[in-house]
Amino acid sequence: MTHTFFLGTSLAILLAVVISLYRVVMGPSIIDRIIAVNVIGTKTIAVIVLTGYLFERVEFFIDIAFLYALINFIGALAFSRYFEEKGVEHTGPTR
């Protein structure tokens, strides 16, 4: 019962990841792609912890999730700083 619940929850979050992936591919500017990748990374932390519950190795997977949170934060800051200095192209509609 609990196993099925965690499996369904993981699949629902993966559906949200697939929906967000549309913005990564189609986003008009580079900033849209950065925010979509940041959102996917935050969802991935929850999926990693749920995977730990599915395989019954929670203590092991929680450390991986914490490292992933650190790398996601540093990556978002680095990308935003880099494109703040470099400039962002914006042509065409905002959608």
Binding site: M1, L15, R23, N38, V39, T42, P93, T94
Partner: protein
């Protein structure tokens, strides 16, 4: 699996899904960031707190609460940094004439 843990995790998944739908449906970058930043923070927070309450009080649940606190502080910071990069580069905003 208590009802509290299941309810918290289901609420978190609801917020994650609505955030993803807002990310593809809103018309310009700033409104998309409004959907992405807040829904994502609250959704991950609810999922992690729900799993911690499912776990009971031990080292794993303390680590889950630490991850939740870390996301609570860093996700708005990252969103703010990205929004500042967009604002400094004069990314165009959605106006009424675009809706026609």
């Amino acid at each position: 699996m208590t009802f509290v843990a299941g309810g918290l995790v289901c609420a978190g998944v609801f917020f994650l899904l609505t955030g993803a739908i807002g990310l593809i449906r809103f018309p310009d970058f700033y409104t998309r960031m409004h959907a992405a930043g807040k829904c994502d923070t609250l959704g991950s927070l609810l999922v992690l707190i729900g799993l911690a309450s499912h776990q009971g009080l031990d080292l794993a649940s303390v680590k889950l609460v630490v991850i939740a606190l870390f996301i609570f502080f860093t996700s708005p910071t990252a969103t703010h940094a990205i929004a500042r990069a967009a604002h400094r580069n004069r990314l165009p905003m959605w106006t009424h004439k675009d809706s026609a």
